[in-house]
């Protein structure tokens, strides 16, 4: 599965959820969905905004973790 490590990058950049939500123009509720891993999908436009604001690459906030069953 693909995991979002957004909270790690946010901590490194020392940016709060409210600041990031305002900067990328999404609701705090939607940002919470991203941070808690409940999101089913992420739009390219949202990904682009996050990368621009946090000055990172998509690979910095997305991580592939193999499922346990695949081992």
């Amino acid at each position: 599965m693909v995991k979002l490590t957004l909270n790690v990058v946010m901590a490194e950049r020392n940016i709060s959820s409210q600041e990031l939500a305002a900067a990328i123009d999404i609701t705090p509720a939607n940002l919470s969905i991203l941070k808690t891993g409940k999101a089913k999908a992420i739009r390219f436009s949202t990904l682009e905004k996050i990368c621009r604001v946090l000055d990172c690459q998509p690979g910095d906030i997305l991580k592939y973790v193999p499922d346990t069953a695949e081992h």
């Binding site: 939607n30 940002l31 969905i33 991203l34 409940k38 089913k40 999908a41």
Partner: protein, 194 residues
Amino acid sequence: MDNMSKWLKVGINVVVILANFIIVAASVGFLWPIGYLYWGVKGNVARSVWANESFLRYSGSHRPTASTIASFPNWPYVLLMAIGGAIMMGAAIWFCLTLRKLLKNLAAADYFSMANVELVRKLVYAECYMVLSNSLIAGGNQITSTWLDGYNNGVLAQTWSDVADSLVGVVVLEVIYVMYSRAMAIKTENDLTV
């Protein structure tokens, strides 16, 4: 658009009133299964059926002979009608209560929710009970048709064609349920797309 929703609300109110009426009628309808059990306990079920004003004879049919009355399967008939009738009344009440809840949700503009999916699933189950009850009652009515050469024209007069009708109802409701649950899944995925 506003005009359409106004008519939708009127339609929903009419169906809710009809559902309420059916709930009351089905509650009273529990007397019929009790009546069949009373016939069974009293004995002479064939004579009671024959004498009942709701029992219509086929043209040219004759009064049943003593041997026909003696061979009439009293308790199988009574149990089929009583159990079938009780299940039918219960299923009708369950169906109408569920439909009423669903329509009230729609009237409150709560169109897509897991609660509504669950209510549609309950409608499918209630309709399945209708198929079961119709089968039992049709079996009971088949007995009177075979032994007494006539048919029930009153309450609990279901025949095999009613079983087929209710099966179609199950299929239609199941299709609605599958489509509605798929729509809910799409909406959930959309809600969780950021």
